[in-house]
């Protein structure tokens, strides 16, 4: 099946259908949304993972320079902001404009034991990767029995 992108004959329902599928794909059966989760499909998409020592945050934000992000942590709330300007390209005919354009800020709640003083940030191939150390005191400790 071919769908023309360029002459607008896809219809609104087709577009809703696509959106719904994208949402399902992105969020799947994610069970509970935190109060700071914001709307679905927000830019940039964020994945968070944890090891006993560190919390890793991956923000999928392509097309930036490393210095263009505004990242801050207050207690255990991480905030990532910035502006992405999609070039206007005058005298062109536009067929699709799906990429994010404008100002964004996302805040996510991290585990409570993160240490805001020990954060490392790198930006590679359009992914901002933050590594936040967790405080040693709350790591699970082996208690010797003997």
């Amino acid at each position: 099946m071919f769908t023309y992108l360029t002459n607008g004959d896809r219809g609104l329902f087709d577009e809703f259908d696509r959106l719904q599928r994208e949402m399902d794909q992105l969020f799947g059966a994610w069970p509970q949304a935190g109060i700071r989760s914001g709307r679905a499909g927000a830019f940039p998409a964020i994945n968070i993972g944890a090891t006993p020592e560190e919390v890793h945050v991956y923000a999928y934000a392509p097309g930036f320079e490393a210095g263009q992000f505004d990242v801050s942590i207050q207690q255990n709330v991480l905030s990532i902001g910035g502006t992405r300007k999609v070039e206007p390209h005058p005298n062109c005919t536009w067929y699709l404009r799906e990429r994010f354009d404008g100002e964004f800020r996302r805040a996510v709640t991290l585990p409570e034991d993160v240490d805001p003083e020990r954060v490392e940030a790198t930006y590679t191939d359009g992914v901002l990767h933050l590594v936040i150390k967790r405080r040693a005191a709350v790591r699970p400790r082996q208690i010797p029995v003997g």
Binding site: I48, P62, V86, D125
Partner: protein
């Protein structure tokens, strides 16, 4: 005018042929007198893991995100649930697939697909009678 149908998206008639896990990259497509420009967001994809190919009139963009993750990491929150990106478009005959230029920077792919020289618009001069 049929020229406006320069790039159309192809979808597989049989959904089973497209693995469910591939993400559909967000794109911009625009046209000027010289050709079509397609810009795609492919965060996490480096040039070694990007595949752009034209088979007959189908342009396929495929990439795999290569993101360093520590051993034994547990997911706390996941909005991106696949490493694969895939999207394809049908090119119309006035575009020249042999002359496509591709550039990948910071997870953004830019493709220039020029029109064949003979179909580029010519300015028609209107003389005052």
């Amino acid at each position: 005018m049929s020229d406006s149908k320069a790039v159309k998206e192809t979808r597989s008639a049989n959904p089973a042929t497209v693995p469910e896990s591939a993400l559909r990259p967000r794109v911009e497509v625009f046209e000027d007198a010289h050709g079509i420009t397609l810009i795609a967001d492919l965060p996490g994809v480096c040039s070694e893991r990007l595949n752009v190919q034209v088979d007959k009139d189908t342009l396929l963009i495929e990439g795999k995100a290569d993101i360093a993750m520590p051993e034994g990491m547990q997911a706390l929150h996941a909005e991106v649930r696949s490493k694969l990106y895939r999207r394809s478009f049908a090119l119309s005959s006035e575009l020249d697939p042999d002359a496509i230029e591709a550039k990948l920077k910071d997870g953004v792919l830019t493709l220039h697909i020029p029109k064949r020289a003979e179909v580029r618009p010519r300015k028609v001069e209107v003389r005052v009678a």
